[in-house]
Symmetry: C2
Subunit: 268 residues, 2 copies
Amino acid sequence: MMRAMPRSPRSHPIQLLPVSGIPEIKRGDDLARLLYRACRLSGTPLRGGDVLVVAQKVVSKAEGATVELSSVRPSEKALELARRRAATRSGPAKADDPRLLEVVLGQSRRIVRDEHVLIVETHHGLVCANAGVDHSNVPGEDRVTLLPRDPDRSAARLARALGRLTGKPVAVIISDTFGRPWRLGLTNVAIGAAGLPVLLDLRGKPDRTGKRLEATIVAVADELAAAAGLAMGKARGIPAVIIRGYPFPASRGRARDVLRPAQEDLFR
Amino acid sequence: MMRAMPRSPRSHPIQLLPVSGIPEIKRGDDLARLLYRACRLSGTPLRGGDVLVVAQKVVSKAEGATVELSSVRPSEKALELARRRAATRSGPAKADDPRLLEVVLGQSRRIVRDEHVLIVETHHGLVCANAGVDHSNVPGEDRVTLLPRDPDRSAARLARALGRLTGKPVAVIISDTFGRPWRLGLTNVAIGAAGLPVLLDLRGKPDRTGKRLEATIVAVADELAAAAGLAMGKARGIPAVIIRGYPFPASRGRARDVLRPAQEDLFR
């Protein structure tokens, strides 16, 4: 976590620049180079201080984190889960495929809720539906993507490579769209991060009346991911967005630092 | 909820423009006029199609939704809650003030969790810490703000007035920073909205491989609020941000539509 740095009182605009022209990504592709080139071709070459938000899906594809469901043999546990879910079905039947459930279980530490959606805690500690295993924007009827094995490491690798190509430091967020309790709909959140603070601690800073702010730690990486979500658009095939003009101190923040420890979580 | 509109494949940048020069707001102030003027003085006069995200605090102050704690006589229930909380204190002592707790209880339908933070369901249906009752950025040691009584109505009123001043339709989001389960830190979310979709339904739209997207409803008003949060900065006294270049269909979305019905919520 980073203490907030002093900032100039004058605020500047922040830009969200969609990066188009990223081809369908295959295992082993040099994603950093493809992203770097797509930024240039979009008319917005990367600059130092930019935050590049990259959708998890292209990272997973480049890392080969995909599974062909026809190659999966569901365990007894997955078959049992599929039977139970089918009996009380309200969601799409695809989500009850025992092969898919086998993949989801393999990505999970434990099941948090098994009701109209299957909410798990992944081996990363992320709490989300279906462990982030997903069909959409994956070519082929039977292929799914997994979340990257270590999204912070993936982000660090991309940030290093993009920094080399750009000649200046570039921060990277790897994002995915997750649901949440209490509120409907999905929002884009940070599942991996490198080169920027993930939580910004404003505690003790004066507010505009001079009183000290209490209990104010802002999840800036999630706000950056959400902002990028506005310019991504799942249906439009824009898997990366440059955020330009957001001032931040260099930092070794990791997206895993935003995960609330299970023992402190009142809702798990 | 709105079905996504067809969009051109070419994406355009989105800008987050912080609005500075908003004076300390007092009950009865013409907030729309002050915001309109501050946008002009910030060098970014409002345009049709802009989304103006306004921090709850200035709306509450303009509406007189503030309470002087010295005028509050705590009920037996608030005193009991204060005693219980003081016994297991881990947060700041200010949050255990029985007068504050009396105000929080008055804003709440029910207590969702009473542990190191007090999480309630407000009379609006919002689930958040301390019912959004807050000391920060309020002049005076003893004064707190409440959430606006009907934030969607407040947003609609602002949107109408700003539309008249601008001569073009302007959308308005009223935002506050809330915590959430599973993930640390606060993010800015929409508690009131007018003139734009709050949930964007992409179900049935083709993804880039031509498959139909499943289970994809994006909480765009929350993503817009989070994006604005990046440019607000509680410590910098920027209570409003223009989001320019985000394409959306005119809509009668209300922020209350994003509230997950209690009976469908697995975590309440």
